[in-house]
Symmetry: C2
Subunit: 322 residues, 2 copies
């Protein structure tokens, strides 16, 4: 029976499903050097999250003349830690679980949007320090404002729907989505999103195209005055991937006040460590927890287990990334 390496954890229910099918499942983290030295060659499949990187060299090191891995599962969404081209070269199937965490990311995005415009984290911190900062913590409403979405895939559409229920006018930019739709006002030029919107949320992958997409030049275009005439300032949220918001530029925009708030769940370097962002009360951060919910982890595990079972039963999967 198939042997599966789970290097960054998977839900208990998913592992039980696989073991009930008779597969051998090893749940253990493999260090990069181990993988380079062939630690995965004795498995038929590997399931990773974001902590394991599979470079071209590591993928080829996971193959032998007789076998090695035939399936790479990413329990989650982002696959920037997998060299998919190299996997394809060797006929290895790469699958992720894109839908499983959508609702969790949508909720955290709206949570960050309101928490930052209403200073919830700052208020809580002040309260714990014995400071009743009511007068200094005047915020602004999201209702009546324009929300610009960078990227308009599954998560972004969920955010659009929630934002509309709060009375926001939703704008979006996505070069891979064509035509008009009823969910957002689409723009062909990303700068137009910045010119129109006081509130922007990032929902694209990290690619050469999107690296530093949110930079000082673009932030400088943001209007600061809401569609309702209120001087609400400019607000940016990202629960997508580090590297899309230029952190150095964001610090400059927080310094000048061109950005009134910035909320990030993702960073250039994770863990974040010491960062000039942390000098600002107007910055709010969480440690890459957009998919860290009981529900998302449960759905991710079950979806991945089903993909593995399908693969080992039929030799292929109904959806894959290559």
């Amino acid at each position: 029976m198939a042997r599966i390496a789970v290097t960054d954890g998977l839900s208990h229910k998913a592992i039980a499903m696989l073991e009930n099918e008779g597969y051998e499942v090893e749940v253990r983290h493999h260090e990069p050097e181990e993988i380079s030295n062939g630690s995965l060659t004795r498995f038929d499949a590997v399931v990773i999250r974001s902590a394991t990187k599979l470079t071209a060299q590591q993928i080829s090191s996971s193959l032998t003349a007789e076998g090695g891995i035939r399936f790479i599962g990413r329990a989650g969404v982002g696959v920037d830690n997998i060299d998919i081209n190299e996997a394809t070269k060797y006929g290895i199937v790469v699958c992720n679980t894109p839908g499983a965490s959508t609702r969790s990311v949508v909720e955290l995005t709206i949570g960050h949007l309101i928490a930052s415009t209403r200073n919830i984290a700052t208020a809580d911190r002040n309260l714990r320090a014995g400071d009743w900062a009511k007068k200094r913590l005047r915020g602004s409403e999201i209702g009546g404002k324009r929300l610009g979405l960078l990227g308009f895939g599954r998560i972004s559409r969920g955010v659009a729907q929630a934002a509309r229920s709060f009375g926001m006018e939703v704008h979006a930019y996505d070069p891979y989505v064509s035509g008009e739709n009823s969910e957002a006002i689409m723009h062909n030029d990303v700068d137009e999103i910045f010119r129109h919107c006081t509130h922007i949320s990032v929902h694209c992958n990290l690619t050469d195209e999107t690296r530093n997409l949110v930079n000082l030049d673009r932030i400088s275009l943001m209007p600061g005055i809401g569609a309702d005439g209120i001087e609400c300032g400019n607000h940016i949220v990202s629960c997508a991937r580090g590297g899309i918001v230029d952190e150095k530029d964001a610090v400059k925009a927080l310094e000048t006040g061109q950005l009134r708030t910035l909320a990030l769940d993702v960073f250039d370097n994770e863990p974040l460590g010491d960062s000039p962002l942390l000098d600002f009360d107007s910055f709010h951060g969480t440690p890459h927890i957009a998919a860290s919910t009981l529900e998302a982890q449960s759905r991710i595990g079950i979806e991945m287990a089903k993909l593995l079972i399908e693969f080992f039963e039929t030799g292929e999967t109904s959806t894959s990334l290559n």
Copy 2:
């Protein structure tokens, strides 16, 4: 022309509106003893927020044989700081601005609901302390869960609408709202809300009936397991009035874990000062800022100015509390 005392501030635009009508506006806080000694007798109207209290004694001290105040305006919603019966006895009109802050309170309520179930304030605090607490901060989704609303007035209905857009099933209890409606599943017994719902939000006034409505007996009824079968724990939010959630009982429920999170914008004693609530990461607090937005304060000021102008032009107002 009429003289108006504004004791707790009002928006600049509102004051300009009143002065343009030719009214004399004095913006200055009056201490309780001053009011008791007749400091308001030389005014025709007084506009307060929550910092000024108008007791029976203070209302009678604001009248003279020839005149004194004929109008009390509450720039905001809650009128538990005004003895309305005493005002009515002397024919003084009492008005508030109930609709002006609805959207702001709805947004903060949803913000608190997501911020607490996703540990946003804790995550931000840990990040500032150099602690990348990703693994300890697994949260839960609000979608798929039951939200119980205590009180079903204007704010509560706004929260219901937003909550439904996230996929929550909305339940409500309000003895003053009769019949069925499409916005929520109504219950006749408040305990039924606690039995059904893992998430509860408070939206009633503070009265003898509602004092300590949320107590340990009732919290103990909460199911801990979501309508979707997920062990999400129990969560309570209040942006209504201090005194409705029994804080001593809430601390006990946080200690045992029967409450997984508690988010409060209002407290028995404000400012909060030192409180056992602050010992818990599972508690999230803000200093009574639900109406502290640019938008709400602007709408409150304009609405109050219009009421004053209507009153002094016609001798009455289209809406009043007495």
